[in-house]
């Protein structure tokens, strides 16, 4: 099997605390893989290292065959939606996306077309002229998601994309991720196990900085609710 994202002995220490411990994560190409685990398990830290925001203490990361272990290597063909980040509060939605499109080297007129399209895709077209500071939590989450989609990257890294969304946006997000097809790979972190079992085909369980299990969702859940499987697993460790 080919892997879109691969980490080898990836580790991160904050001070003396080991937060991510020898993580060997393998994300199959074309899959939607979920990283689940308790609060503070190290999911965000792992995704941040893969995105280039946090510098690994040790280990190697490879995306689409390219070594990206250093923070200053551009992650090409990768879109990132972070758990915590922010846009310039004074900018409007469309301008915000167009700005990030310009950072991808997309020309202004093409960017306008693409970003308008993206806003429509995430059900925010009527908010194109709304300023970031006037947006609700859910709207900001969808903005993050739209931002990750700019330039139609082959790999998406989404940290808690579904948290705090209202049913409408939640449904929209699920439909969009399910509709990606085989030429996109998604790695996402989530606490929402219903969401995970519905949209993800692979699951990696993280516990205290380590990956405990990495399986196909079907195999792991085995027809049971993922939540029960997860709770049982946590008892075991």
């Amino acid at each position: 099997m080919k892997y879109a994202i691969e980490t080898k002995n990836l580790a991160k220490k904050f001070g003396f605390r080991i937060v991510v411990d020898s993580v060997n994560l393998k994300v199959p190409e074309g899959s939607v893989t979920a990283l689940v685990g308790e609060n503070g398990a190290g999911k965000t830290t792992t995704l941040s290292m893969i995105s280039g925001l946090v510098r690994p203490t040790l280990g190697q990361m490879i995306i689409l065959g390219k070594d990206i272990s250093e923070t200053d290597v551009i992650r090409e063909d990768v879109g990132v939606a972070l758990q915590k980040s922010s846009f310039d509060p004074h900018r409007k939605a469309l301008d915000t996306l167009m700005f990030y499109a310009s950072l991808k080297g997309i020309k202004k007129e093409d960017a306008r077309v693409e970003c308008t399209e993206l806003l429509k895709k995430v059900d925010m077209e009527e908010h194109a002229e709304t300023r970031i500071k006037e947006m609700s939590h859910g709207m900001l989450k969808m903005m993050e998601f739209a931002n990750a989609l700019i330039g139609d990257p082959r790999v998406l890294i989404l940290d808690e994309p579904a948290s705090g969304l209202d049913p409408e946006y939640y449904h929209k997000l699920k439909e969009l991720i399910k509709g990606f097809g085989k030429n996109k790979t998604v790695l996402l972190a989530s606490h929402n196990l219903d969401f995970v079992s519905e949209v993800c085909d692979h699951v990696a369980v993280m516990h205290k900085g380590k990956i405990m299990i990495q399986e196909k969702e079907k195999k792991l859940a085995h027809g049971k609710a993922l939540e029960k499987v997860f709770v049982d697993l946590m008892k075991k460790f």
Binding site: G52, L53, F87, Y100, L103
Partner: protein
């Protein structure tokens, strides 16, 4: 993407952001008002006391436009704090409000830091250029001497100091993730540098050691001026390099 284009995009977005940042606009307004007063006082003083006061320490054969020299001293006294105020939160501000994250996942960190630095240098230099051109006009109106070339030469010299303090501010914004700390440490350093300049053995390390050399520009002593410029730019490069080194390794 092309590196220069990347820097250009960051630079342009920083300039746009600064142009509607109330804090920055207020700082610029205060600086402009202070220097406006300084401009007027410089002319008044040089007329009242005449040139004699300055002959004591200026051994120059060329006539010195004292009003201009005075204005230069006024502006260079206000410059360090002004430059620091513009630059102290360039990185720490972006880290604490997390806007830097969406940038850093798209753009090389070297382009981010270069773009931000250039934006501050450009803003600062244009504010000062405007002030110096106003000063040249005002002094022409008062004295009927047009001192455009000397004014521009002093502005260039001032710009070198500005680069020094801006890169110092950039470094401060990198050594901590809390903007207010960057500011406190920066102010403490500026005061420290004043003290350093008064000890002969270490004075060369302080920019205040080179302030006075502005008058050598007016007197036409280029060797002294070149020495100061090289030293200032050397320190600036050091500060910028250190900032880059830290920023590349930092978790955002």
């Amino acid at each position: 993407m092309n590196r220069i284009k990347e820097v250009g995009i960051v630079l342009w977005s920083e300039l746009k952001q600064a142009s509607r940042d109330r804090k920055i606009l207020i700082i610029i307004a205060i600086y402009v008002i202070l220097l406006g007063i300084g401009m007027k006082q410089s002319v008044t003083l040089s007329q009242t006391f005449s040139a004699s006061l300055f002959r004591v320490f200026l051994f120059s054969r060329t006539p010195i436009p004292y009003e201009l020299l005075l204005f230069y001293f006024v502006s260079i006294a206000a410059l360090p704090l002004f430059s620091l105020m513009l630059s102290y939160d360039s990185i720490s501000g972006g880290i604490s409000n997390m806007t830097i994250r969406n940038l850093a996942v798209r753009v090389k960190r070297s382009s981010i830091i270069t773009g931000k630095f250039l934006a501050q240098v450009l803003t600062n230099a244009s504010v000062n250029l405007t002030l110096y051109l106003m000063a040249a006009l005002y002094m022409f109106w008062e004295t009927r001497h047009l001192m455009l070339s000397q004014t521009l030469q002093l502005w260039i010299y001032l710009t070198v100091f500005m680069i020094y303090f801006t890169s110092l501010g950039l470094l401060m914004s990198n050594i901590t993730t809390k903007p207010h700390r960057s500011l406190y440490i920066g102010v403490a350093l500026i005061i420290g540098l004043i003290f350093v300049s008064s000890y002969e053995s270490v004075a060369w390390m302080s920019p205040y050691n080179y302030y006075i050399n502005g008058f050598h520009i007016l007197a036409g002593n280029t060797a002294k001026v070149a020495e100061s410029i090289i030293s200032m730019l050397g320190f600036s490069a050091l500060f910028f390099g250190a900032s880059f080194f830290i920023f590349r390794r930092r978790d955002l």
